[in-house]
């Protein structure tokens, strides 16, 4: 039995403590230990972006972060986007604009789009496509996703 390390961190604004083995990714810890199953395991090698979380203000693939690394960090997952019963404007626009089909990639896109709009509140279409290039969707063809992010940017500027 491998030694487990205690880790204290902040997830979606709440202090969280967990035990994990050094080999476990942040994605495994989120899903299997903390039961935050919003982040999805797609490729598990940093290509698909379905596991995107915001770590200390930076969008990262949680499959390429170790759980032990987030000691003292601030993590935002897709579960942290909505505020009580209010969807985040990005989530609302994805729904209204039908920017999803099967939905597996959606949490990653939502979190990456949140990180993008935090950094660039009014991005051009090219900036959206560049920043979302690390998120793969095999259903929508991306146009509806890009339009939903543009729509969300407009809503958030109101």
């Amino acid at each position: 039995m491998a030694t487990k390390t205690p880790v204290s961190t902040t997830i979606n604004g709440e202090p969280v403590e967990f035990l994990c083995e050094p080999r476990q990714s942040l994605l495994e810890v989120l899903r299997d230990t903390l039961h935050l199953t919003g982040a999805k395991e797609g490729c598990n090698n940093g290509n698909c972006g379905a596991c995107t979380v915001i770590l200390n203000g930076v969008a990262v693939d949680s499959c390429l972060v170790l759980g032990v690394e987030v000691e003292g960090a601030e993590v935002t997952t897709v579960e942290g986007l909505a505020c009580r019963n209010e969807l985040h404007p990005i989530q609302q626009c994805f729904l209204e604009d039908a920017a999803l089909q099967c939905g597996i990639c959606t949490p990653g896109f939502l979190v990456a789009a949140k990180a993008l709009l935090d950094k660039i509140p009014n991005p051009t279409e090219e900036q959206i496509r560049f920043h979302l290039a690390g998120n793969i969707c095999r259903c929508t063809g991306y146009d509806k996703i890009v339009k939903a992010v543009q729509h969300a940017a407009q809503e958030m500027a109101k």
């Binding site: 080999r23 940093g46 930076v58 693939d61 390429l64 170790l66 920043h131 690390g134």
Partner: protein
């Protein structure tokens, strides 16, 4: 991934000690975007991962009193490209840093990791070579400096000895009337591995080329300098015709393989095209133009 231990030392000396103690079974761990995948897939093995990101010197980017820049080897790409004075002074290095994977990868991936993975197609290496970058290597027997151009020895192979690590890069101050560029050819615009990569720097005075340096990626077992082409440029007029001729000469430095990314003949052809365009972009930049290589219509 199999069981593994994790160490997060606070100094370079402690990191070297941890690697030495692991007796060949320790791996330096910066952004993890290569090593975690390799450990999972079983293409590399380790008993201990030595995290370098808690070592202040390894995650700093700063200008030295000499005007040179020092970049900690574990500094993530996103921080390098958002360090405005560096990014404005070295657009050629930023061209490469900007396209190492997607946004999530750049949040973690580092120059040290890109170099130590030693892929012939690594996106940051050709521009670093073109800018005369040097790495500081620290190991059990002390520290040494190695030019980036001499670091890689073959695919996945480099000059690091057991328990040594790359601590930092020093990138010399830019000469006046100089700039650089890195171009990568891929079938799309993001998230792919170079078919060919080309990094250049150029110094021009009164329309005459004073210095040039050309480094190529993905056309040999390691990133290579096109020395004959660069030497030919000295004293020539800074024109597209000169750059085209340099591109033709640079093709001789390419010894590519054929693989799923392209046949050898195609890669050799691309060397000429990228060398010409990269030199032309370097020229436009040293004349004060801002060129975004991802969106510019290049000649």
């Amino acid at each position: 991934m199999k069981e593994i231990a994790y160490a997060a030392p606070r100094t370079v000396a402690d990191a070297v000690a941890a690697l030495k103690q692991a007796n060949g079974n320790g791996k330096a761990f910066a952004g993890g975007t290569d090593i975690l995948v390799q450990l999972r897939e079983g293409t590399r093995n380790a008993d201990v991962l030595v995290d370098l990101k808690k070592i202040p010197e390894m995650t700093e980017i700063r200008q030295l009193p000499s005007g040179d820049w020092q970049i900690g080897a574990a500094t993530p790409c996103h921080r390098i490209e958002s360090t405005v004075p560096f990014a404005e002074g070295y657009p050629g290095i930023i061209d490469g840093v900007h396209i190492i994977g997607g946004w999530q990868i750049k949040g973690r991936a580092s120059l040290g990791g890109n170099l130590c993975t030693s892929s012939p197609a690594a996106d940051s290496i050709p521009a670093l070579i073109a800018h005369h970058a040097v790495v500081k290597i620290v190991g059990p027997d002390g520290s040494r400096e190695v030019p980036v151009s001499e670091f890689c020895t073959g695919p996945g192979k480099n000059v690091l000895k057991p328990a040594e690590l790359v601590a930092s890069f020093v990138i010399p101050a830019m000469l006046p009337n100089s700039s650089g560029c890195y171009l990568r050819f891929i079938p799309r615009s993001e998230m792919d591995i170079a078919v060919v990569g080309c990094g250049t720097t150029l110094t021009v005075e009164k329309d005459t080329i004073k210095q040039a340096r050309i480094a190529l990626g993905a056309v040999a077992p390691k990133p290579v300098l096109a020395e004959e082409a660069a030497a030919w440029l000295i004293g020539k007029p800074a024109t597209i015709e000169s750059f085209e001729k340099a591109g033709e000469i640079a093709r001789k430095a390419a010894t590519p393989i054929s693989d799923m990314r392209g046949p050898a003949e195609y890669r050799t052809h691309l060397v000429g095209v990228l060398v010409k365009r990269s030199l032309m972009t370097s020229l436009r930049r040293l004349r004060g133009e801002r060129v975004d290589v991802l969106h510019d219509k290049l000649v």
